[in-house]
Point group: C2
Chain length 199, copies 2
Amino acid sequence: MPRPSTPLLSSDRIRSAALAIIDRDGLDGLSMRKLAAELGVQAASLYGHVRTKDQLLNDIASSVLSTVDVSGFEVDWREGLIRCARSYRAALSSHPNIVPFLAYGPAGREESLQRLDLLHGALVDAGWSRREATMIAAGLMYIVFGSALSSFSSGFSSDPADYTDRYPHLDRAHLLPGVARELDRDSFELALAAFVRGL
Amino acid sequence: MPRPSTPLLSSDRIRSAALAIIDRDGLDGLSMRKLAAELGVQAASLYGHVRTKDQLLNDIASSVLSTVDVSGFEVDWREGLIRCARSYRAALSSHPNIVPFLAYGPAGREESLQRLDLLHGALVDAGWSRREATMIAAGLMYIVFGSALSSFSSGFSSDPADYTDRYPHLDRAHLLPGVARELDRDSFELALAAFVRGL
DNA sequence: GAGTTAACCTAACACTGTTCGGTTAGTCGG
DNA sequence: CCGACTAACCGAACAGTGTTAGGTTAACTC
């Protein structure tokens, strides 16, 4: 196929198709050839719109994080922290399969820095020292990312025989998968509330 | 080379060589061919001792986590939580490059479950309900894994120009890389203390 | 000493991300 | 209107990945 009359590809179309694949097949399920195939195109054609796969993933990550809202600090810094964390978690858990990518490396994403700047400023305004503000922001991110990884409650088998005898205190762990989502949310809320209250 | 008089390979040698590569070159720096080369062997030979690369990584992860100590709950459950979290973090931060692998999937690792069982039991003994115990354990893991990812303080540039003007509250963020390790530890301790105090 | 097993090898398969050079449709200058 | 040029795609290839099949020979067992 030569140059088509109306372009088949665009950065946006590529990004959203890639995110759909990630959501459906996981992070490892995304390959450039598969992505191209779903767009009705050959793999090489993608590189006219995207520099590298890593860059594509970064762009997707940024767009996922762009929905995070850090407003709400005017009322109360505790409430601001809680809202910010909830918003972060909502963004991440709407596309959980991309979280391992975020976990990989030095981010330095524009969006993250901007939000972090606001968060830091709000904490300093509330009376915390700069160093304390940095550590509190870090702690909040620990809880958010830790809960978003959720290799915790989703990592349980649903076969009771896997636990009985060997792990006496986990004798009902096989019920976890059924309530994993709810339990993850409640665990996050508990951790967040305890953290903020304990500051 | 036919069968050598004394075997060149063993599961242990393979595991420790692989972990050394991961520590040195990162998770992506480990390939079966490279691992084989460092052991003076061809890649295919590894598969006589290791089922798959994924299994190898799981075994390595288990051995890293095997140093975690969950004793210390006799004294006080708060102290027990703190010691457990510190021990976990120590294990993870001694081999930080394998943490992204842990972040990937349903773990269900023998070691983790065993430790989780003890933790859960200790919390129930201390008077928490089973559900609360589960959530508290999850919250603790959030902080441990979140801090071990450390895509936070290690993700900052050391060039002041990257922050000035654009991020007014982060005007000293360029200093972070120099104190990243210490700051990460302090942030972890702060988050842990706040979390436990807030329960 | 024969037969079996264990430990290595070479070669290959089906993938991966990415690049090079080609082909053609659309667009712009004269 | 037509030539030059660019934009958007394709086919083929490269170097790398995890993994398997089948071969070769040393060491062990009876």
